[in-house]
Amino acid sequence: MQWTEARVRQEVRTWLGENWDPNARLIEWRNKLMDSGWGMPAWPTHWFGKDMPDGLIPTVQEEFARVNAVGVARTGIRLWAAETLLAHGNDEQRERFLRKILTGEEIWCQLFSEPGSGSDLAGVTTRAERKGQEWIVNGQKVWTTSAHHADYGLLLARTNWDVPKHQGMTYFVVDMKQEGVEVRPLKQMNGHASFNQVFFTDARIPLNNRIDEEGNGWRVAMTTLMHERRAANALAGQSRSKTPEGTIYEEERCENTVLSEPYTWYPQRAGRVDLAIDRAAATKTLDNPVVRQELAQLLMMSQCSEWTALRARAAREKGQPQGPEGSLGKLANSYIARQALRVHTITTGLGSMLEGEDAPMEGLIAEILLSVPAISIAGGTDEIQKNIIAERVLGMEKEPRLDGGPFREVRKN
């Protein structure tokens, strides 16, 4: 039977009417979502879904929002971990992991970046060696969000040093609660410690925790990163403005408080454009012509960026070929954040020398000033982003590479 918007709306409404209970236990309710297929409706019917086309998912979300029904767990890397395992895992792995990722019972982290491979992710040197019925892992990962809470990690490790770099990696699920895995917090320049360093010393992975074929790790990692980008784009407008009545929301809030903690400074990293006008008024700098110029520039960039994203979406919806406007968002956000930082600095003036509770806005301005430098690095530096735009969007020639041949012989850190 074909899904249509009317049918989706009617079925989800009926199902919610019969099943939704704001006083249910959170895990119990989410298990119901997994069993019914309403938690991940775009997924196949035999794997917790309803085979629904992507275009109809907003309809389901609207109906959930209408009655304030809680959805599957989305904190941290859950969604892209689940999508990766669905796409590349075998049936046994899907059976074992998918449900508890999405009910929120198990916490996951992503072990990709290393001290020696940032922009060049394919240069990972954490090694996994097969010994008998298991893999033995040694090496170091970094920038791992929630590693100290995680039950499992998605690990990209090198298994073959004698083939070119992209061909020698394998993707694993690693048990984080074992001897041989040491997690240490990584304190950032803004004082927060949202990430961790993870050290592997003879950590063990059972054979059946290898995802996809040996040597296919890069391809699997690309799936994870694609879903990460997609999730980042879909993040806007997900939060509930007011908590409704019901015990389930209490449980949800506890879950969110723990796992959202690493992200509290992310709005400051983006520059807090929303504060700019009020700050100019509060600091009585609105009659300063330099402030006016920089503020106007910020507001215009912000507006144009939003419209550029809407143009990309409109073109997609009309089935028009993807224009360059769809690839600019990340770079645009960096420029906007830096412009916002400039505005906050000149409106705040000498107050920019202060940090902590006695500083302007109880330290919020200082947090902006100290967090913005991350936005043009995290998730791909501006420089890499510009290379990608130049090569994939503008069709410019790729840079000659010096990292071909067996990885063993490639120059490394």
Binding site: L299, A314, E325
Partner: protein, 365 residues
């Protein structure tokens, strides 16, 4: 608001682009820009009359196509891209806008002639002490005769019909007037323009015969300037895109150190930044065109479009020369023709500093 072109708009864009590419290539522009009157009349008639672009947003009862301002802007974007050299912007956009805003039977009587390209027209509204407002206007009319000076008049020497904004009686009232290009008492001095594809004139009026078309006031003047900014912004986006395309083309063929310069990150990063600025400007220009009837938002959008386009075009033209290296600084290379257009358009109707200030004021700040 519409964020994607319709199928009809895409077709319009492609048709105009094709015509300009085949009939008005830059080699042709180089020939006509030094001629008198400084453009190819036949090509202008092809565009305006034969292709029906003479009055895209003018109502059908005046001979126009009755489409929206967005369609006019789509055509202008292509003209900016091709560096079209002709009186389309001055006659078919600025003068037509002024007559439409004038709104009287008298002002509309000229529309059919302009739309069908029987005559060229221009509008003289800038004075040394009155750039983007009415309060400093010195030109004044008494008993059907105008005295004063107007500067920076596009195609002022060649236009058949000249529209003039002037003070009239009683004190504090302004009017929109029409003068024949050959009117007695009208002295037209061609001035050498930085943009070789846009002829400029300084007009001196000494008891020049003029026909009063309509009342004019700050409100109408604001509307006229906003529409002009939106039109120019769209034209500039086209020019900026051409500069990026030209830089990409050159950097994919120019080889130094055994590799194309386009494979160097220094060049790639310049191009990516050009693209970002152009796409922001395109978003602003595309959206602003949809606010022409919205009194409360129009000025804000016009200022945003003009500011973003001014900076994006100027940046793209400068970077295009830089990426071309030495050859980019030669007369023979075409880049400087767009650079000249970029510089001239950057300051015409107010530069980006001016429009950022205007934008904040429109927000009530």
């Amino acid at each position: 608001m519409e964020f994607a072109l319709t199928a009809e708009q895409t077709q319009l864009r492609d048709t105009v682009a094709q015509f300009l590419e085949s009939r008005c290539p830059i080699s042709h522009t180089r020939e006509v820009m030094t001629s008198t009157p400084g453009y190819d009349k036949e090509r202008w008639v092809n565009l305006g009359r034969d292709m029906g672009l003479g009055g895209i947003h003018a109502p059908t009862e005046c001979g126009g196509a009755g489409l929206s301002y967005s369609e006019t802007c789509i055509v202008l974007e292509q003209m900016g891209n091709a560096l079209y050299c002709g009186p389309y912007f001055s006659s078919n956009v600025l003068a037509v806008n002024a007559l439409l805003i004038g709104g009287t039977t008298e002002s509309r009587q000229f529309l059919a002639d302009l739309v069908s390209c029987n005559r060229t027209a221009t509008i003289a509204f800038i004075e040394e002490d009155a750039l983007w407002n009415l309060s400093g206007v010195q030109c004044s009319e008494r008993d059907g005769r105008i005295n004063g000076e107007k500067s920076y008049v596009f195609n002022g020497s060649s236009a058949d019909l000249i529209l003039v904004i002037a003070r009239c009686q009683p004190e504090g009232i302004f009017g929109l007037f029409a003068l024949d290009g050959g009117a007695k008492g009208l002295h037209k001095d061609s001035v050498k323009s930085l943009d070789l594809t846009r002829q400029l004139a300084r007009l001196t009026l000494k008891n020049a015969d003029a026909l009063r078309l309509a009342d004019w006031n700050e409100h109408k003047h604001r509307q006229f300037l906003d529409l002009a900014c939106i039109a120019l912004a769209n034209e500039m986006v086209g020019g900026a895109q051409r500069m990026l395309d030209s830089a990409l083309e050159y950097s994919s063929t120019r080889v130094q150190f055994g590799r194309t310069i386009g494979s160097l990150q220094a060049i790639k990063h310049k191009c990516a930044e050009m693209l970002l600025k152009i796409e922001f400007a395109r978003s602003a220009a595309l959206c602003a065109a949809q606010f022409v009837r919205d009194e409360s938002e129009r000025s804000k959008m016009a200022s945003m479009a003009k500011a973003m386009a001014s900076d994006a075009f100027m940046n793209a033209a400068s970077e295009c020369i830089q990426i071309h290296g030495g050859i980019g600084f030669t007369w023979e290379n075409d880049t400087h023709l767009w650079y000249r257009r970029a510089k001239s358009s950057e300051v015409y109707l107010g530069d980006s500093n001016y429009h950022r200030e205007n934008y904040l004021q429109s927000l009530g700040l």
